[in-house]
């Protein structure tokens, strides 16, 4: 990440300051709470799954700009996609959507929402419904 990228990134700012799909999904199919051991940030992701399709996503995080913006972008990416499509989404794609070169610690920030969504799908497929407490 060069100074300019991080300091001036408009897309980062956009999504960080007005994150899309922020909030709670009352009628979610599955909820996942994931925490980032690097800094103790926590994210709650609610997925509404209908058959094979992710119909809606909402999340709450008070993480850093990168984890918030990454969650926002990811939510836009996955709404309307099938479970298979989302499962096939790679970490590299998620990182490239953000468009910043990130070091290993900030990469974890960028991927916490991704990890949560993947775990959510796994949990759904296993038939789990209750929220996971930590």
């Amino acid at each position: 990440m060069t100074d300019d990228e991080y300091i001036n990134s408009e897309i980062l700012d956009e999504h960080f300051r007005t994150p899309r799909n922020f909030g709670v999904l009352k009628d979610c199919t599955v909820e996942i709470i994931e925490s980032n051991p690097t800094c103790g940030d926590t994210i709650v992701v609610d997925l509404k799954i209908n058959g094979e399709t992710i119909e809606d996503v909402k999340y709450i995080t008070r993480g850093c700009s990168i984890s918030t913006a990454a969650a926002s972008m990811l939510s836009e990416t996955i709404i309307g996609k099938t479970l298979k499509e989302v499962e096939n989404l790679s970490k590299a794609e998620v990182l490239s959507n953000i468009g910043l070169r990130l070091g290993p610690a900030r990469e974890r920030c960028a991927l916490i929402s991704y990890d949560a969504v993947q775990k959510g799908i796994k949990k759904h497929l296993k038939g789990g419904k209750e929220a996971e407490h930590f």
């Binding site: 991080y6 994150p19 850093c64």
Partner: protein, 427 residues
């Protein structure tokens, strides 16, 4: 030596230059002076060999240097050489104790810790609790207060077996009076363990003064290599401590039926030790001795005092900082937030309660900006002290921590960097 002169000994600062880097993550790990690097390279180049058993010249030289390193490091904290056990780091030292002392504890025995402990002085005891059903009690001090002997006395009962406390908090910088605390603990007949990870590198520490049974510290936090640390144990304490890891070097005899142990301290050092680590740490100790630990402490006290002054003068909106304001009891550690992001609380996160716009800059963002604008290297996160972070009611904090090579200029740059992050991420 002045901090400028000291910096000359560190190749990394030469490489990056005065403007390039302001390293303020010394509580995590420190930079290494030429003297330490050369001691390590000298081992590889001139007398690389395993220790203890070789009767040839390389082996003899390696063993002699290794033994001298132990003696020198022991001397640094006022201990005899057989009271120094080489381990990887503070964490391993505390695990060794939790296991070896733990093997003598039973259900209901009590261990006292505090809410400002590093995870490495919490998790080993929680793991012991899983095995032995012991009870762990926490001293819950306010962040503005050091731990007082009374705080310990209040929790001691007839069942208290072990009290394990940090001499200096790695997040608050609070320096606890371990001597007085040890007295209280010993009066009750319990064992006193001191986590010296943040005290041994930063101030004069003499184990006989403190009177503690055990003291743990890490080489990499005091100009030495990673992979080497020490457990000090009083001779009588170590003599009675069951071994932890088994294998070569720690035995006297092995048969298919069983084994007998070596004398202390080798009894606790199974397998090939980190030889160049011990030798490098000894060189680091020599470097610190040349500066003088009184001077190290004085220097850091001046820097943290100056930091407080700069905090006041800069008067940055939303800035909150933690730790005691009594500079006599405050190490060179400065943890702060620009606005506080409240700790995660599922219950409070129902739809009606969501306030996205927390008036705060996340510590990760602050650190990244500080790095990218002024080359100021800060740590952000929970600092391996989640219970204290929780008690502060926040999600994370940013921390600057000083060492011998830092100067007032570095503190000025720290505040420049904070202001830059406010400019970038302030709401």
């Amino acid at each position: 030596m002045e901090s400028n002169e000291i910096r000359e000994h560190f190749p990394i600062f030469k490489r990056f230059g005065r403007e390039g880097i302001v390293y303020l993550d010394n509580a995590a790990t420190t930079q290494k002076p030429t003297e330490v690097i050369e001691a390590v390279v000298d081992f590889y180049t001139n007398y690389c060999s395993n220790v203890h058993r070789g009767v040839y010249r390389l082996g003899e030289e390696a063993t002699e240097k290794f033994n001298k390193a132990r003696e020198n490091i022991g001397n640094f904290i006022g201990a005899k050489d057989n009271e120094i056990v080489f381990v990887r780091n503070t964490t391993e030292a505390l695990n060794l104790l939790a296991n070896s002392l733990g093997s003598k504890l039973g259900e209901g025995d009590e261990i006292i810790l505090s809410n400002s402990e590093h995870h490495s002085n919490i998790v080993p005891w929680q793991m012991l609790r899983e095995r032995k059903n012991v009870k762990i009690k926490f001293i819950n001090s306010k962040h503005t207060e050091t731990i007082k002997p009374d705080d310990v006395a209040d929790l001691i009962t007839k069942k208290t077996r072990i009290v394990s406390l940090t001499a200096c908090s790695n997040i608050l910088g609070n320096i606890n009076d371990m001597k007085e605390i040890t007295n209280v603990v010993h009066d009750s007949g319990a064992i006193m363990i001191v986590d010296g990870a943040q005290s041994v590198p930063h101030m004069p520490v003499k184990v006989k003064d403190i009177g503690c049974d055990y003291l743990a510290f890490s080489g990499h936090k005091m100009l030495g290599p990673t992979g080497i640390g020490c457990l000090f144990g009083r001779e009588e304490s170590l003599e009675n401590l069951p071994p932890f890891l088994g294998g070569g070097e720690m035995i006297r005899t092995v048969t298919k039926e069983g084994f007998t142990c070596e004398e202390i301290p080798l009894r606790f050092e199974a397998g090939t030790p980190n030889i160049e680590g011990a030798i490098g740490l000894s060189a680091a100790v020599n470097f610190l001795k040349r500066i003088g630990m009184e001077n190290v402490r004085q220097h850091e006290k001046e820097l943290i005092t100056y930091t407080m002054k700069q905090e006041e003068e800069n008067n940055i909106k939303g800035l909150v900082s933690y730790g005691t304001r009594n500079m006599d009891r405050r190490a060179g550690i400065y943890a702060f937030n620009i606005g506080e992001i409240p700790k995660f609380d599922r219950e409070n996160l129902s739809d009606g309660n969501i306030s996205l716009k927390v008036q705060a800059i996340h510590p990760h963002d602050l650190s990244s900006v500080a790095d990218r604008t002024y080359g100021v290297e800060l740590r952000s996160g929970h600092h391996c002290a989640m219970p204290m972070i929780q008690d502060l009611g926040v999600t994370a904090a940013t921390r600057a921590s000083f060492y011998v090579y830092n100067s007032r200029d570095d503190v000025d740059r720290l505040f420049d960097a904070i202001k830059a992050s406010v400019k970038r991420f302030g709401l």
